[in-house]
Structures are given as structure tokens and as C-alpha cells.
Symmetry: C2
Subunit: 196 residues, 2 copies
DNA sequence: TAAAATAAACCGACCGGTCGGTCTATTTTA
DNA sequence: TAAAATAGACCGACCGGTCGGTTTATTTTA
């Protein structure tokens, strides 16, 4: 079997795993659930992954790899820091509108990271990269005098938190606020606080 | 057995349940875990609660009841809205410093609410009350001309999100930012954006 | 001593993971 | 080049063990 066909099988498994973990949680979901969703057999899944945990750990990478090209594009184009930040927010707003599933999954992995070290380490890596990316943009903005002379770490974390807050809307759509409008307003608010 | 002794037994069970759910998650934890931690028997726990789910649902109320007196105190004293908001933030910063366990539990319930309707409803109620409380403060601030004429719902949600962001620090203490310093800075930042 | 509370033995359902075996495609043999 | 051998991909029945919940027996309380 060719490499790409193998990859496709893996995607088939991971796509199923994503749906399953969102609907049933980590311990609450079984390999049989993934088997059913993926339309493969138990044997097939254990052929590609050695354990339930390995499937879900791979799922974290899976979605990070889906994001990183776009994120890198945002940094690499040579626009003002504020435009880049806005691009970042827009990307996640669009992502949320297209398919909020991943945000739901993040909530699951989140609570998982709190009690399982393997997941914590994986998450740590993913978020520290994301954090560094945001901080880079901010440092650039400060150096070019576009931004005020703020604490870049705190600003970066704050932006990360507010992006992640889209998770809220996967649960509560009913506070009379639309997710998109909220995110847009928050973006402007944060930028207003940053820009000189 | 007297009412208060019964209550104490319930607390004993819920305190154990809190520790257990944080360490093992919802489906990942068993009644036997709670039995062990609480130093009671299975029979005793099923005497007070009819199911595992009911124990954990009660746990949500348990912690809300611990918070609400303080929160009500904050609103009832007749201080400027900005002082009240600051009091709110301080309360949660102190809470986090004293014992971040509850923030970890919130992450678990969070992901649970995404897939279980009973937990979603419970959470919905809790958060909409909290949300209303914050919005009330903001409306007051707007009416007294202390705050700018902003969208009170968006502002309230934003404050709620930023309070909850303390959850981050239960996972990642290592971005070179102290939780307290971060929360204090964010408070000032938000207030600066609100105040005229 | 009746009712309330606790303890512990127990049950059927289900779980993660294993394993013997099948099917198909490619490679080796004669 | 036809037959035999090998290897990779895949299947699903099955196993040991755990789980949530029930039942039954015992102790404590009032």
C-alpha cells in the first residue's frame, strides 16, 4: 500500500476519532465507537495505532498540522502587526463558523491535559508554539512603534485566551450575542488597547 | 441523624467527588474512587445520591453555593461599578491562589456540558446567573456615566471569559507569567477600556 | 425496636486489547 | 510463466478485568 493510501486510512481513523471524542469524551468513548464511525475494523485501527491513547494523541497533531500552514502564511507576509493580529482573529472566527467541532474537542483535551501527563506535554508544545507566534507579532509591533510599550508576554497570553474563548459559543449561543460579532468587537477592543 | 449531620455527610461525599473528578475526569472516575476518597461505603453514597451523575451534578451546585454569598456581598455594597468589578476579579484571583482545584473542575464540567444535556443545563443556569450579575454591574456603571456607553452584553461576556481564563494557569504555569500578575494586569486593562 | 444508615457481596454490561486467521497483491521459484 | 511462497492489511470473536448499580445483611440511632 502506498504512503498516501496509508495516510488516508489514518485520516479516516482520526476523522472518526474527532467526532467520537466530541460526542463522548475521552474515557467515555470506546474503540468500538471509533470502529463504527470509521467503518473499519478493530484490527485495522490497531494496525495503525497501538492504543486508544495513541489515536487521540495523534488527533492533536492532526488538527495542528491543518492549522499551521495558514498561521505561517499570516506571519510571513510583511504586513503591520495589527493587520497580522486581525488576520489571526479572522482565521479563528472563520474556523469557528465553518466548523466549531475542533473547539469542542479542545475543551475535551483541555480537561484531559489537567490529569494526564502525555496529553499535557502534547498540549504544552502546541500552545507554546502558538504563544510564541503571537508574541513575535507583538514584539514586532512594539519595535516598529506601532504598539505601546506593553509587556509582550501578558499581551500574547491575553490574545490567546480571547481567541480560545470561542469555545464559549460552542456551549452557549443564547446570551443574545453572536459569536462573530463578539469576536470582532473583542478584536477591536484589544487592538485599541495595543496601538499607540 | 440530624439535618446538619446529613449535610456534613453530603459535603464529605462532594469534597471527595471534587478531588476524584479533577484527577480522573467524569467517565474516567468510578464510584469506587469516590468511595475510597470519602472513606464511606458504596451503600452510604447511594443512600444520599441515586447515581454517579447525580453526585457530580450536585457538585456543581456545591461550589456555586460556596461562591454566591461573597458575590452577593460584592454587588450589595454600594460602591462604584469599577470598584465592584475589581472586587470580582480579586475574589477569583484569591480563589485561584487559595485553591485552583475548582478551576480544574470547571474545565472538566466544561467539556462535559458539550456532550451531556443535564450538565449543559446545569451549567447554563449557573453561568447565566453569573453573567447577569456582571452585566448588572456594567449597566449600573453605564447609567452612572462612570463607564463608556458600550454594549453591556459583550462587555459582560468578555469579563466572564477573562475571569475564567485563570483555568490556563492550572495547566501552564511556565510562560514566564505569574497568574496573579496576569490577572491584575488584565483587570486594569479591561477597566481602562470601560471607564470614561 | 422500628427506622435510618452503612457495609459488603454481587451482577450483567461493557471495555481495551489480543489473536488466529483471511484476503489480496507482490515476489520468488522451478 | 504458472505455481508457490511471502508480506502487508484487515477482520471480528474473544478474554480478563472493571464499571455502575442492586441487593442483602448488619449496625446505629432515636
Amino acid at each position: 500500500m502506498s504512503q498516501s493510501t496509508q495516510d488516508q486510512r489514518k485520516y479516516q481513523i482520526l476523522d472518526a476519532a474527532l467526532e467520537v471524542i466530541v460526542r463522548k469524551g475521552y474515557e467515555g468513548s470506546s474503540m468500538s465507537d471509533i470502529v463504527k464511525k470509521s467503518k473499519l475494523s478493530k484490527g485495522a485501527i490497531y494496525w495503525y495505532y497501538s492504543s486508544k491513547k495513541e489515536v487521540y494523541l495523534a488527533l492533536v497533531n492532526h488538527w495542528v498540522h491543518q492549522y499551521s500552514p495558514t498561521l505561517n502564511l499570516i506571519i510571513e507576509d510583511n504586513q503591520p502587526a495589527s493587520v497580522q493580529l486581525k488576520g489571526l482573529f479572522n482565521f479563528f472566527i472563520t474556523q469557528y463558523e465553518t466548523d466549531p467541532t475542533i473547539f469542542k474537542a479542545i475543551a475535551v483535551f483541555w480537561s484531559l491535559a489537567g490529569r494526564d501527563n502525555d496529553f499535557k506535554e502534547k498540549f504544552d508544545k502546541v500552545y507554546s508554539e502558538f504563544f510564541t507566534l503571537i508574541e513575535k507579532i507583538i514584539i514586532k509591533g512594539v519595535e516598529s512603534k506601532e504598539f505601546k510599550n506593553i509587556d509582550t508576554k501578558i499581551a500574547a497570553l491575553s490574545i490567546m485566551v480571547n481567541i480560545e474563548s470561542a469555545i464559549w459559543f460552542t456551549l452557549f449561543e443564547n446570551y443574545g450575542i453572536s459569536a462573530t460579532k463578539y469576536m470582532e468587537t473583542i478584536t477591536d477592543f484589544i487592538l485599541a488597547g495595543l496601538i499607540k
